[in-house]
Symmetry: C2
DNA sequence: ACCTTTCTACCGACCGGTCGTTAGATGCAC
DNA sequence: GTGCATCTAACGACCGGTCGGTAGAAAGGT
């Protein structure tokens, strides 16, 4: 089971357990047990539990961005580039599901400095998509729309796959990637996306927090 | 700030803190401090921390479903019904952002019995959307596609709003709801959604977990 | 009206247990 | 014997939860 370096073993055990039980619910003892060492020995490799988490998240974010950049190399045309970007994003999230799940659910375990590091990396990644949307919109290929909201939509859509995807499931990663790719390109292309909310005709349709449900 | 009953005060303090710091990071002492009582007094109103969490989640899920059902009453036509459903979903998640965020991130805090209760409620809710997609697809209004994947896509897309939405932000809830509504209807309507993955032409484009990045 | 009992809502003190972390000794490869 | 990797042992902090008790309002009998 151990793959040479104990530091890597600990890391991969951590990825497993953080994914399965969550960061806070996973104790150093759990990590030690899973790695086959005593819990004090963890501290020879990592300064703290939080540093271990940060290490995982940082690696994931760096690989995610590197992956996207590589997959965009030599791809021409804004639609094809967006397709490639979505494909890259979906595949990365499904192939490395556990790490991505952690990256999206355990940010609160970080110190504020580390948190900001990760958010900065995430923002840089998002900006690549936003730039693509803007390009496509300028070129008339995509409908004009709110770039930020659309980028969030695209990314969270694909990211969500990491929460429900089962490698043993009905569909392969490539099939899922294609479904998303088409869904998104479709949503972006047509001209019906606008922010004209003038035709909204409604009062409150949602119950307030902690209030009993009442409509109209 | 306290609204009559202490039980309600505790609940709303819990919603605030679970949203801000997370369920595990919020201690009973935190809840007591926020509610202005001693921590032992919390147990007069709730049997345990977990029961309090369950109480919040159960309420939220029940209201979510009730809200959808009401908003679908007297709406005819499958496209209009889907639009109404998306609108209901987005609005509920943005208006009651904190509770919904908790409901999507703190399920792991539940006992397995309570967890299954909530998942059952969530599945019932999802099935309403899946039924809508199937109807629309049968009627030829929506393109045929994988019903489950599409329903996940729709729901997670809208749900994600609860993670980044700022009430003081640029766009109103209704504007965001409209953007999503159009994006989704668009994605569903066109005929390009299929699972024909026969034209996939690629090797590995994603680095493996814990492996250095390498393409092709 | 009076006294007694019950119930509600809370408090202060405390428990066993687990947590992340540290200090210092030990084995082992070179 | 030098240094790396791991060990045993322990630390203080804090956790969720329990306990016995209590002030005060309400209920009930006479």
């Amino acid at each position: 089971m151990p793959s040479g370096h104990m530091k890597e073993t600990i890391k991969s055990v951590a990825i497993d357990l953080f994914f399965k039980k969550g960061y806070f619910a996973t104790s150093i003892s759990d990590l030690a047990r899973g790695s086959g060492i005593q819990k004090a020995s963890i501290y020879y490799h990592y300064a703290s539990k939080e540093e271990l988490l940060f290490h995982i998240l940082e690696n994931t974010m760096d690989d995610l961005t590197a992956c996207l950049k590589t997959n965009l190399e030599n791809v021409a045309g804004v639609e094809e580039r967006m397709r490639a970007a979505v494909r890259s994003h979906v595949r990365f999230h499904l192939e490395r599901q556990k790490e991505n799940f952690i990256a999206n659910s355990e940010l609160r375990g970080l110190t504020s400095e580390h948190y900001q590091d990760i958010v900065k990396k995430r923002d840089r990644y998002e900006r690549i998509f936003q730039e693509l949307i803007r390009e496509g919109s300028d070129a008339g290929v995509f409908a004009p729309g709110d770039v930020k909201i659309l980028s969030y939509a695209i990314l969270t859509l694909c990211t969500a796959g990491a929460t429900w995807f089962k490698p043993s499931g009905r569909l392969t990663i490539d099939e899922i990637a294609l479904i998303y790719e088409n869904f998104i390109i479709n949503g972006l292309k047509m001209g019906t996306i606008d922010s004209d909310a003038s035709n909204l005709k409604n009062g409150r349709t949602v119950p307030l927090e902690n209030k009993k449900y009442n409509v109209k």
